[in-house]
């Protein structure tokens, strides 16, 4: 059996390819098959968790473009998701437009709102931008609660998604819809990072003054990052609305926004793999806590009454702090290290 001692490229196209060897292709296709046949062997509960993960992943990919690639802090991501969710809800529910129109409009609307709140990023950065986006979060949620078209505090019912007469009314069918869009979004983000736009984003993240000196139009690219990030948030919001079937502004609290930042950081900022790992990590942790907390509560009656609802945020806070202190480059960096050591095994280098 002849082992390859390296990967040789005979053309530039091959050198640039994301999947470079036949093994890569085989693994990739196996993974896709595994994901898309999941409804055959998963029950509805697992599919529901997977759907939530898929929706979260789309939003997290958006935040990763904004925060991980372009370095613009947004603590209002849940607010932008809410914009998308309510746009889709109003368009398909109240005006009975088709699902796809609602989906695109949700993305555009969230993108435009993101553009508006991204304008301060031209003058300020870091903490100031964080505050601006926190303010955006509160202003958006306040408007949703007080406009009559969004149903106010009572919320708004959303019909199932449907394309050309086919109604996505089961977890399994929605799983296919959500996963398809999620895979497309990850593919888009992975490729975006390799284009001129992605490289401009990275240059802005590393030093925006130097980037400007090198001829990158800050005005254009910063706002473009906000638009793309919030566009994906809007898409996620639209899918979320159709998946849950009922929208209420309480689902889009500031804690949710912080959680999204946590996901991007835990996964690893500025890598395509990062959001996937971060989303799986956080959502699994959430599901695990929902599962374990009541059990612990019944096993140890001495625990305070707020244990079940309070332990999850505490744990997330600790996890975020621990990751920042111990592994600021996130899980994807760990994965890289593992891959490198696996490739060289049994030699150390």
């Amino acid at each position: 059996m002849g082992l390859p001692c390296g990967t040789y490229n005979y053309s530039y196209a091959k050198d640039m390819a994301i999947l470079r060897t036949k093994t890569h292709w085989a693994l990739f296709i196996a993974l896709l098959i595994l994901v898309f046949t999941a409804p055959l062997y998963c029950d509805n509960y697992l599919l529901g968790v997977a759907n939530l993960m898929g929706i979260t992943l789309i939003a997290a990919v958006g935040l990763n473009i904004l925060l991980g690639y372009c370095g613009q802090l947004s603590i209002g991501h849940a607010g932008f998701i809410a914009v998308g969710a309510y746009t889709a809800a109003v368009l398909t529910g109240t005006f009975e437009l088709p699902f796809l129109v609602g989906l695109i409009c949700a993305g555009l609307m969230a993108g435009l709102v993101g553009l508006f709140f991204g304008i301060p990023s031209l003058k300020v950065k870091g903490f100031y931008l964080g505050i601006a986006t926190i303010a955006a979060q509160f202003i958006i949620i306040w408007f949703i609660n007080h406009l009559s078209i969004t149903g106010g505090f009572t919320g708004i019912a959303v019909p199932y998604a449907s394309i050309g007469g086919f109604v996505f009314d089961t977890e399994a069918s929605q799983f296919y819809l959500i996963m398809t869009i999620a895979v497309l979004c990850v593919f888009f983000a992975k490729n975006l990072a390799r284009t001129r736009i992605g490289r401009a984003f990275v240059a802005i993240r590393d030093n925006d003054l130097a980037a400007e000196v090198m001829g990158i139009n800050l005005f254009y690219y910063k706002l473009l990052a906000f638009f793309i990030g919030c566009f994906l948030a809007g898409i996620a919001g639209s899918l979320l609305a159709h998946w849950i079937g009922f929208m209420n502004a309480e689902q889009f609290s500031i804690s949710e926004s912080i959680l999204y930042i946590g996901m991007v950081i835990i996964g690893g900022m500025g890598s395509a793999l990062g959001p996937i790992l971060g989303v799986i990590f956080i959502r699994l942790l959430q599901q695990g806590m929902m599962f374990i907390a009541p059990m612990l509560e019944s096993a140890f009656p001495a625990l305070p009454a707020g244990f079940a609802s309070g332990i999850a945020p505490m744990l997330f806070g600790v996890v975020i702090v621990l990751f920042l202190v111990l592994e600021p480059r996130g899980l994807s960096h760990r994965w890289m290290l593992f891959k490198a050591s696996y490739r060289l095994w049994p030699f150390s280098y």
Partner: protein, 295 residues
């Protein structure tokens, strides 16, 4: 006219408490350049601890105050030592998000220990209302404003004359130079966190004695960001000027606009609108230092 006076007095006095929370932010920003987004969580947790001491344990007022202040000092030290110190010289984004994680933790802690969402503090100040002209103001507001002003004065003097305060100002100016002079920068950082925690504890107690104790106090802490943004991040004067302005805008705005537009709860959104407007027009605030960046 009476209405106007009423709104103004309430606004200015509540604004003084916002200024106090903003002061706690400025303390940390000035000395270590860390943006503390966990303000809301700190305000929340200390006011609930105060409630626990005063009502649940049943300590007298002065003793529970002392206990809260000691706990605040301990919290400040712990936070600085275990969350912020490992992140010295990390990118600003890490420093911001670590405080967000902290905020998450503190909110969870409050729910964990006190799941009962709403509680009332016994009145800390005499309850007979004061009459100022045609307006009637409860004494708690006036006391809160007075205490805020006194604290502000003490802190200003501390920063001007006390050795530690001067060292803090120097650290804000140039960390390397300060280290070269033999001032332990790390102890400056922890002192500033401890002071900030004490200030936000007092602010939390004052605000919860006025408007009750809920888990919504987090939002009060977040509202205080409008104070620091409007006043300028690194300016004490900015805080004490901007606080009452925010309070006034909040109270007058909601008092007058609510009957016109018919939307309730305007009070909760006006500070955030002010943030956006300030960031658009004058991003470094009224008194903030405009930073010039070089490559």
């Amino acid at each position: 006219m009476a209405e106007f006076l009423q709104y103004s007095i309430t606004g200015v006095t509540v604004g003084m408490i916002y200024a106090l929370i903003g002061l706690s932010f400025a303390l940390i920003w000035k000395s270590s350049g860390v943006a503390n987004l966990a303000l809301g969580g700190l305000v929340l947790i200390f006011s609930w601890i105060f409630y626990a001491m005063l009502v649940q344990v049943g300590l007298p007022l002065w003793l529970s105050l002392i206990v809260v202040l000691i706990l605040a000092l301990a919290f400040g030290w712990l936070i600085e030592r275990f969350c912020l110190r490992p992140l010295i010289a990390q990118p600003i984004l890490s420093l911001i998000t670590v405080t967000l994680g902290l905020e998450f933790f503190l909110e969870g802690l409050a729910v964990f220990i006190w799941p009962e969402m709403v509680a009332g503090l016994p009145p800390l100040f005499p309850i007979e209302p004061l009459k100022i002209g045609p307006a009637v103001v409860s004494q708690a507001y006036v006391w809160a404003a007075v205490i805020s002003l006194i604290l502000f004065g003490i802190l200003t003097l501390y920063f001007r004359y006390h050795k530690m305060g001067i060292a803090m100002r120097a650290t804000a100016d140039d960390q390397l130079a300060v280290q070269a002079c033999g001032i332990p920068v790390t102890s400056i950082f922890s002192t500033s966190w401890m002071l900030a925690c004490v200030v936000s504890a007092i602010a939390g107690i004052l605000i919860s004695s006025i408007s009750g104790l809920t888990h919504g106090l987090v939002e009060t802490g977040l509202k205080a960001f409008s104070v620091v943004i409007l006043g300028g991040l690194d300016s004490f004067i900015g805080c004490i000027v901007a606080g009452p302005i925010i309070g006034l805008a909040e109270n007058l705005g909601s008092g007058w606009l609510t009957p016109i537009v018919g939307w309730g709860g305007l009070k909760d959104v006006i500070p955030f609108i002010i943030i956006i407007v300030v960031l658009f027009i004058k991003p470094y605030g009224l008194f903030g230092e405009v930073r010039i960046e070089r490559i």
